[in-house]
């Protein structure tokens, strides 16, 4: 097994005061191999966005390690981390807010290039900007315009171009489709899939949309209230979900086909606050299969088969059944 490109070990991120912190990320571990696309799935309070930002050191972790090719990123000095950023990039959720409204596209992309000394000189830079725009499906003449002249989907493409400008190996895609119309989403999905293959990118794909995750990701981590519930390859997770939360999540996402009958009893109750998470298994307050033991200890993330891990004391409930 080669060294993972990115490895997260026992990552914790707490916000706020020390006595009652918001436990946004509470002991999360996973690894991403080079060329792999890992999906981070969860609802509000799952910590998925926080993990994305913490991995890139846009937010500083409270505890745990984030390793890039085996080296702890936290150990890097300010200047070295700055240089490292060319390898680790991010695409944001909100295409309307992620571009400086006062800068032309050429300036936005040019800044990315000059920050890391790429393609110096006016001619080389302009040429590269044109290339980047064409790579993402826009045109070279778009460089002279301002962000507000573009639609949401186009702005998202510009965001992708900016991330690609610094020639990254790893990209965190933080809900890149949520703010886009359905018909535009598939355009951007195709773009990401294309680029991923052409440029051998490794991706951490954060989303709440399970259908997109199933389409784009190789493996999936399911999060709830800052903790990992289940990890598996995409095929395995969607065919044989073992954690009650994963099963509820899959059942609750309506499939666009009226002939598929969903016999689904929705989960009761609300997502608890990350300031005051339930003791033991954080999912137990809404879990239809919770028993006394669930309140006593945080269930360990056990391996049930190759590459498939579940944090649930009752996982054997489903290991014999086919997926509902």
């Amino acid at each position: 097994m080669s060294v993972p490109l990115i490895e997260v070990r026992n990552l914790k991120k707490y916000f706020g005061n020390a006595t009652r912190p918001v436990r946004a990320v509470d002991d999360v571990s996973f690894a991403i191999q080079p060329g792999e696309t890992l999906g981070l799935v969860g609802e509000s309070g799952s910590g998925k966005s926080t993990i994305g930002r913490t991995v890139l050191r846009l937010i500083e972790r409270t505890d745990g390690q984030v390793l890039y090719r085996g080296d702890d990123l936290a150990g890097l000095s300010g200047e070295r981390m700055r240089k490292m950023r060319s390898k680790l990039q991010i695409i944001f959720q909100d295409p309307y807010a992620s571009l400086n409204p006062k800068m032309r596209i050429s300036a936005i992309l040019g800044e990315a290039l000059s920050t890391h000394g790429l393609h110096p000189g006016r001619a080389a830079r302009d040429k590269r900007i044109a290339e980047l725009l064409e790579t993402v499906g826009l045109r070279a003449e778009h460089a002279s315009r301002f962000p507000h002249e573009f639609s949401g989907g186009q702005r998202q493409r510009i965001g992708v171009a900016r991330a690609l400008a610094v020639e990254p190996e790893f990209i965190v895609a933080d809900e890149p489709l949520s703010a886009l119309d359905v018909s535009i989403q598939s355009q951007v999905i195709n773009l990401l899939a294309d680029l991923r293959e052409r440029l051998s990118l490794t991706m951490l794909f954060i989303s709440h949309d399970l259908d997109v995750v199933e389409y784009l990701c190789d493996r999936v981590v399911v999060l709830y209230l800052g903790k990992v519930m289940e990890v598996a390859s995409t095929a395995e997770l969607f065919a044989r979900p073992l954690h009650p939360y994963t099963r509820a999540l899959l059942a609750a996402s309506p499939k666009p086909d009226p002939t598929i009958e969903t016999v689904h009893v929705p989960l009761k109750g609300d997502i608890p606050s990350p300031v005051n998470p339930p003791s033991g298994c954080v999912f137990r307050t809404r879990c239809p299969h919770a028993i006394d033991v669930c309140a006593q200890a945080v269930p360990a993330l056990d391996t049930v088969s190759a590459g498939h891990q579940v944090a649930c004391v009752r996982k054997e409930l489903f290991t014999m059944k086919a997926a509902a």
């Binding site: 609802e43 949401g152 989907g153 359905v182 598939s186 709440h208 389409y215 309506p254 666009p256 002939t259």
Partner: protein, 340 residues
């Protein structure tokens, strides 16, 4: 329980609804020639993306467009009231529409935080609506409010009555919105993207709740959304909107099984959830509708979807195709389908 004299007459019939806004850069036709109907006890979904005009349609029907917008509205919206009259919502005087709104005609919005008044308790807000329309006194109104909170399955309803909106979670607030809407026993509920801002598991709860309320009270629902998964399982009839016009109307199953308009076909084809049947390998590329919706200030000369349509022919640029019936209870706005 709502009673209608003629139980089979549609609850709402919208005919040729058009809403235009004069702007600095020209007249924006947000909604044009929109027609659909909703049967009693049924759910009609208005499906569309940005710029489709679906939200403006619902605001126009409820007469909630801001005055400063100087909207130009034309068409008819025939509504069957509880006492059997049929009134045109667009022509009613302000006082009459106010008596209907929040009463027989209720609306819930996408963002419950901004639709609820932050300085009043939840109970007070529901009670206010009840007192206004049902003329109950304060104590009776509050008791009714508590019954409403129970109806929408809010736990510890008696306590919640005295809480403020910011103390509740997003899902709870949406339930309160529904309670507020249900308080006066509406016959038509307009739900404008009610679950879009909610988490998936909470969305499932809210949708099941709305279904249950509908079957218990027999109210009709106009469900506005862009989420085709929700439409597939919670709508009886569907009207697909594009650039301000209805481009296809059908019952839900035929629509998903055999979509007729190229836009509907494209929309369904580009969903990753429909990309492949279970067990088959993932396709390399998703279907994508090329381009984006045209600016309302520069509409294409003929069919609005033509610039993005793979099936377009010469006739598509010449005139806007009319919405024509192509089969039983099916309509499509496309020259390729109307020869039937």
């Amino acid at each position: 329980m709502s009673a209608t004299i003629n139980a089979t007459a549609p609850r709402l019939v919208v005919e040729n609804l058009s809403t235009s806004f004069p702007t600095e850069d020209g007249l924006v036709r947000s909604v044009a020639e929109v027609s659909f109907s909703i049967a009693p006890g049924k759910t009609t979904a208005l499906v569309g993306e940005s710029g489709s005009g679906k939200s403006v349609t619902s605001l126009t029907l409820m007469r909630l467009l801001p005055k400063t917008a100087n909207a130009q509205v034309s068409g008819r919206a025939e509504f069957g009231t509880r006492d059997g009259r049929r009134v045109d919502l667009l022509q009613l005087p302000n006082e009459a529409i106010r008596q209907l709104r929040g009463n027989e005609l209720a609306m819930i919005f996408q963002e419950p935080m901004t639709s609820l008044n932050p300085v009043f308790t939840v109970g007070e807000q529901i009670a206010e609506s009840v007192r206004l329309h049902k003329k109950l006194d304060r104590a009776a109104a509050l008791a009714h409010a508590k019954r409403m909170l129970d109806l929408v399955e809010i736990p510890a309803a008696a306590q919640r009555l005295h809480e403020y909106p910011h103390q509740l979670s997003g899902g709870m607030r949406q339930r309160v919105m529904i309670a507020l809407a249900m308080a006066c026993d509406p016959t038509l509920l307009i739900a404008d993207e009610p679950t879009t801002a909610l988490d998936v598991t909470i969305q499932a709860q809210i949708l099941v709740l709305m279904r249950r309320l509908q079957s218990e009270t027999g109210m009709s629902i106009l469900f506005i959304t862009h989420n085709l998964g929700v439409v597939a399982h919670h709508a009886d009839d569907v009207a697909v909107m594009y650039a301000g016009r209805v481009v296809e109307r059908a019952n839900v199953r035929p629509l998903f099984a055999t979509p007729q308009h190229p836009y509907t076909q494209g929309l369904l084809a580009c969903l990753p959830g429909k990309a492949h049947a279970a067990g088959q390998p993932r396709p390399k590329r998703l279907f994508a509708i090329r381009g984006q919706v045209s600016s309302p200030l520069a509409p294409p000369p003929g069919c609005a979807f033509e610039p993005r349509c793979d099936l377009a022919v010469a006739a598509c640029t010449q005139a806007m195709p009319p919405l024509v019936a192509i089969a039983d209870a099916r309509e499509a706005r496309c020259v390729l389908r109307s020869a039937a």
